[in-house]
Symmetry: C2
Subunit: 325 residues, 2 copies
């Protein structure tokens, strides 16, 4: 049976959104055990759930050090509960920096893993198809060996969490030809190519990520972070300009009313809330960071990702693949 | 008087687009001397222009080495002409790799410059305001000293080519706090901060680039390339989805007809053709690479950028600032 710990207290929308997400998830997956960490009064209406009481909340803008000091916060206790209860995963939508530092330090690395990586899913132009990217910021610089492990972990994630048979894995580079990339990237290219269990398609540029041709893109943490945030920034700028375009005059406003159906479908394709946040892969127990402003729907999506990881025994699969080699 | 050499033969749309651009530019700036390099038969209708005859054309997919071998190509002769005629700039829309390698090797670096950088302008959400980014791919890895020189060159470019008084310069990083970034980035932060002539606003994330708050963003060539191409890829994906949204049904198609005015204005804001391509900064004579599929309008924009650089004596200004320090 899979067991997931939930930090109920963080996030911009507070515990009510978390409760809504937990209830929707539980309707879908009554077999999964959930352990909720939070203020007992706030969670008084969550009858029938296993509750671990906490007395404080890590602030959204908290630094990692402050957060580490407060042992009674819902975030700190949620991570401790993963260890105490041998849970499969932990979900939080509190401060990203605090959560990831805490999870990296307290949940030990999977045997053989050199560095955990932060992985997320991006939308692509193909409806319902996403692409996973790692590392998007757990590290700044990465060695070739770390990058090769990211390819292995990302491939397993795409297969067992996103359900892609024989996922196509690419290495992010400044050109699609072999021989492009940083020094570490070039050495990683050779290592990944040697791994017969990875369907490695070679180097790809950042402009190909959303094309729908790839299932997983491997990058060092710094450039992966640039990729993530450039995509976010461009999508935000274009959405802003699009809204402005529709508000230009009475005709364009009328145009929006007619086109609304299509525009909403487009917005849904680009909706990050459907993909379930980012998660730290490579530690014992996946640590899932849902988006800070996540609503009930986003919470449910994040819990579903946690559940898939648990049921797929992803941690064991990673350990087996890495130590076998 | 400023003097610009034009490689008339490259590009997907061929010499006719180049001719159109040259003629439009000449109407605006009759005082600037243009030297056109190309097949004399093809350029027979360009009476009154100084023509340097060439006999071959570098293919759009040519590698740098092949291109370097062919000394009679329009691209090779255009770069040679910059040196022979002491011209201020050269514009080509041929193969990017070939042109940049050739320009880097043949046009010597400005005295004191450690590494030339490839600079381009991005649109922002503010109409008519662009932001310059460098390096977008001339190098792969860069030292702190190189990054600091990029800040200086980018600041001068923003001031004298884009006409921004006291341009705001930021360093690309994986977080906006001081102390974020790669090792080279962190050291560059300190160096740039010490330069009182640069209005340095500190670290910025990739998502802030198009916000309209910045005039110049400095990055190592690898991450700058990821930034450029992620922006391109996201814009392309969103345009694709938007077109699909408008084609969904008869209502959405009608909506497009009404909203067209606003949408076209948005497309114009995002139009890369208006910003004039990318250019190699830090060599004697700016080498401007117009977009491969550039039309007459894009050619004219690229020539206008070349003309501004020439008239601003940007090369001399860079040398003076760098050697004075």
């Amino acid at each position: 049976m899979s067991k997931i710990v939930v930090d109920m207290m963080g996030g911009d929308l507070g515990p009510e959104a978390a409760k809504e997400g937990v209830r929707s998830f539980k309707t879908l997956h009554p077999e999964t055990e959930l352990i909720l960490v939070g203020d007992p009064k706030t969670l008084a209406d969550m009858e029938g759930y296993h509750i671990v009481p906490s007395t404080s909340v890590v602030k959204m803008d908290a630094g990692a050090l402050d957060a580490l000091r407060d042992k009674s916060s819902s975030m700190s206790l949620a991570i401790k509960t993963v260890i105490d209860e041998k849970a499969d995963a932990v979900v939080s939508c509190g401060s990203t920096g605090a959560f990831l530092t805490m999870a990296s330090l307290k949940l030990k690395k999977i045997k053989g893993v050199l560095r955990p990586a932060l992985i997320t899913s991006f939308p692509t132009v193909i409806k319902g198809k996403s692409v996973t990217i790692l590392d998007i910021g757990a590290s700044t610089e990465n060695s070739a060996e770390e990058l090769a492990q990211f390819a292995l972990m990302g491939s397993l994630y795409s297969e067992f969490v996103n359900g892609v048979h024989s996922p196509k894995v690419a290495l992010l580079a400044n050109g699609s030809e072999a021989g492009k990339g940083t020094e570490a990237g070039k050495a990683a290219y050779t290592l990944i190519k040697q791994d017969s269990k990875i369907d490695f398609v070679g180097n790809r540029e950042a402009r190909d990520v959303m094309s729908g041709d790839l299932d997983c893109v491997v990058s060092d943490g710094y450039s992966g972070n640039v990729l993530l945030k450039a995509t976010e920034g461009t999508a935000k700028a274009m959405s802003f300009l699009m809204k402005k375009a529709f508000k230009k005059n009475i005709l364009t406003m009328l145009g929006y009313l007619f086109a609304k159906g299509g525009i909403k479908e487009m917005a849904h394709t680009m909706d990050y809330k459907a993909v379930g946040g980012a998660l730290l892969l490579g530690v014992n127990g996946a640590a899932i960071k849902a988006h800070g402003n996540c609503d009930g729907y986003a919470w449910k999506s994040a819990l579903c990702v946690a559940d898939k990881i648990a049921k797929a025994h992803l941690v064991e699969k990673i350990e087996k693949r890495i130590t076998n080699e």
